[in-house]
């Protein structure tokens, strides 16, 4: 399996889309809704949004949905029958228009869902997923992928990575995995040979803003610092940052019953909520927002790297964009680098 470079003409991109749709492939792509860009199922190429830097929500919606059933039960007079959901029922999906930061995030989420225990449902979602990534030719003041080991043309996590060669240009297509090759095989004619193309000149210029290893070292010493309170004073304690983040994986299990039928659902949860760590006894070890903010940062930049050898952040900047209170994680990380006890 070799990474091969092909060229796909600008107008052929739509043809590729149509071929995939004709084969009844389910495609999720960024669309515009209420002036925000979100991932949604699309039927036609025209629905796909263009000219944006980043979507509001990450594509994790597709392989780690907002809510999904994990088991169902039926009660009868003398019996309760429980049925686990069958992971094979999870449909095959093509994710179109994934940014390199989000593609990298898939690997991080996979590490989380396979630590200690292999999450069958999550893994099945992934095995049924094909990721068509698109490099970034521009970034905004919230992006910082290059500070956390990524870059605007990173192939990690994508099955094919498309890079547009200049405004209105054709696309370089890097075929990275077998899944990528099977997409190519459906539309061989559209993937022409590419010459020597250096994609870097067409990528967004994004210098690194901080030294992540220094931050990680610092974090080991500043647990009791006042700065957690200072930084989190304006946090209002909603779940927006966790829900839009491609690597946040916390979930709740909720049972919902209608008469004799019921189901257990897994749904998103956020460590930012005040009751996230509330014990049945009434004790809450993270009563204050400062403790919850500290947890968020430590988890992503200290605990996950220690346990899983990856950083829990891809630098996509969504949390800061979505935050109603402008908690700018990039700004805070830079000051954490300079922090002392």
């Amino acid at each position: 399996m070799n990474t091969d470079k092909r060229l796909i003409r600008k107008d052929s991109l739509e043809n590729l889309f149509d071929i995939l749709r004709k084969k009844n492939k389910i495609i999720y792509a960024p669309v515009s809704k209420n002036s925000k860009i979100i991932f949604n199922k699309v039927e036609s190429f025209q629905e796909i949004a263009t000219g944006y830097v980043q979507t509001v929500q990450s594509p994790k919606e597709v392989y780690f949905p907002r809510f999904e059933t994990v088991l169902e039960y039926t009660m009868s007079k003398d019996n309760i029958s429980v049925e686990s959901v069958n992971p094979d029922d999870i449909p095959e999906v093509i994710l179109w228009g994934v940014r390199p930061c989000d593609a990298m995030g898939i690997g991080i989420l996979s590490a989380i869902f396979n630590q200690d225990f292999d999450d069958e449902i999550y893994n099945k979602h992934l095995s049924h997923l094909t990721v068509l990534g698109f490099s970034c030719n521009k970034a905004d003041e919230y992006c910082f992928c290059t500070s956390v080991g990524g870059n605007p043309g990173n192939t990690e996590g994508s099955d094919i990575l498309f890079t547009q060669l200049g405004e209105n240009g054709d696309y370089l297509a890097e075929i990275i995995t077998e899944k990528g090759w099977s997409v190519v095989s459906l539309a061989e004619g559209l993937f022409e040979t590419a010459g020597e193309i250096n994609k870097n000149q067409f990528l967004a210029d994004l210098p690194s803003m901080f030294e992540i290893d220094e931050i990680r070292k610092n974090l080991e010493n500043i647990y009791s610092s006042e700065l957690w309170t200072e930084q989190s004073l304006k946090c209002i304690g909603c779940g927006a940052c966790a829900y839009v983040c491609p690597t946040c994986a916390c979930f709740d299990l909720q049972d919902e019953a209608h008469g004799k039928l019921g189901r257990r659902l897994r749904c998103w949860d956020s460590c930012g909520f005040s009751l996230f760590t509330l014990h049945a006894s009434g004790h809450n070890p993270r009563q204050l927002q400062s403790q919850r903010w500290r947890q968020r940062i430590m988890h992503k930049f200290s605990y996950i790297p220690e346990k899983l050898s990856v950083f829990g952040c891809t630098g996509c900047g969504r949390c800061s964009r979505a935050c109603p209170a402008d908690m700018n994680i990039l700004e805070y990380l830079i000051s954490l680098q300079e922090a002392t006890i």
Binding site: N34, A240, L288
Partner: protein, 266 residues
Amino acid sequence: MDELKKKATELLESLTVKVVIGYEEGTAGRTRALFAEKPEDACRLIYDSRCVQNLATYLTKREVRDKGRIAIEATLPVMRSIIQLAAEFQVSDANLLVLGITPDGKLIEFGNLAEVEAFIHQYPIEINQQDREELAKIEKMTPAERWKFWTDELSLCIKCYACRAACPMCYCDRCTVDCNQPQWIPVPSHLPGNLEWHIMRAVHLTGRCVDCDACYNACPLNIPIHLLTKKMVEEATVHFGGYQPTIKGEHIMSTYRPDDKDNFIQ
């Protein structure tokens, strides 16, 4: 806003207040909350038309309250929220000083909350033109079209509760959604749960909403949830003559008139 900076510096230097809450420059042309605790922080205070976040939501946040006496930069919606919070015993003169910004951008110093109340009563709560048009669009729809509109919009909701967190009137330590015996509002963000959450929010805000748009501004998906609470503001005017936040006066949902009129009770 030099007057504001001067006043804030004065208050902090003289230790009259422990923290001044106001607005400062944020990321990418946004503004955000500033908690100025040292006199030199006060120079970061700003005021302009971008400053729409409702700062009163911080007045019920424990770490902010615990600081001691607070001064707050308050535009008209923020002032209204403060009076409503005072009416509900969440803030009082003992711990709060209001630095008002009039609708034409001037600083006004209030001696106490009664003066703030007198000030805001000069300005009835009115839905602005643009929102009136949005409401009218929906009112013109048939019930089936309205149902489709709201189910489409609310199926986008991810239940991040940014709307709840941004609203100054949502300060309950244990919100109804957190109640699980029974689970009134389902936790997962499926459509029935989202519908119930937003209906519940609009009903719990009836008579308390100050029409500040904080909920809409906070929503990461731009779902027009402010139209639900605004509709309640309008209905309160139609049926009960409207309302104003008031510390000593009546609140429309905790009082009644024996001759309240309805046209649907058999």
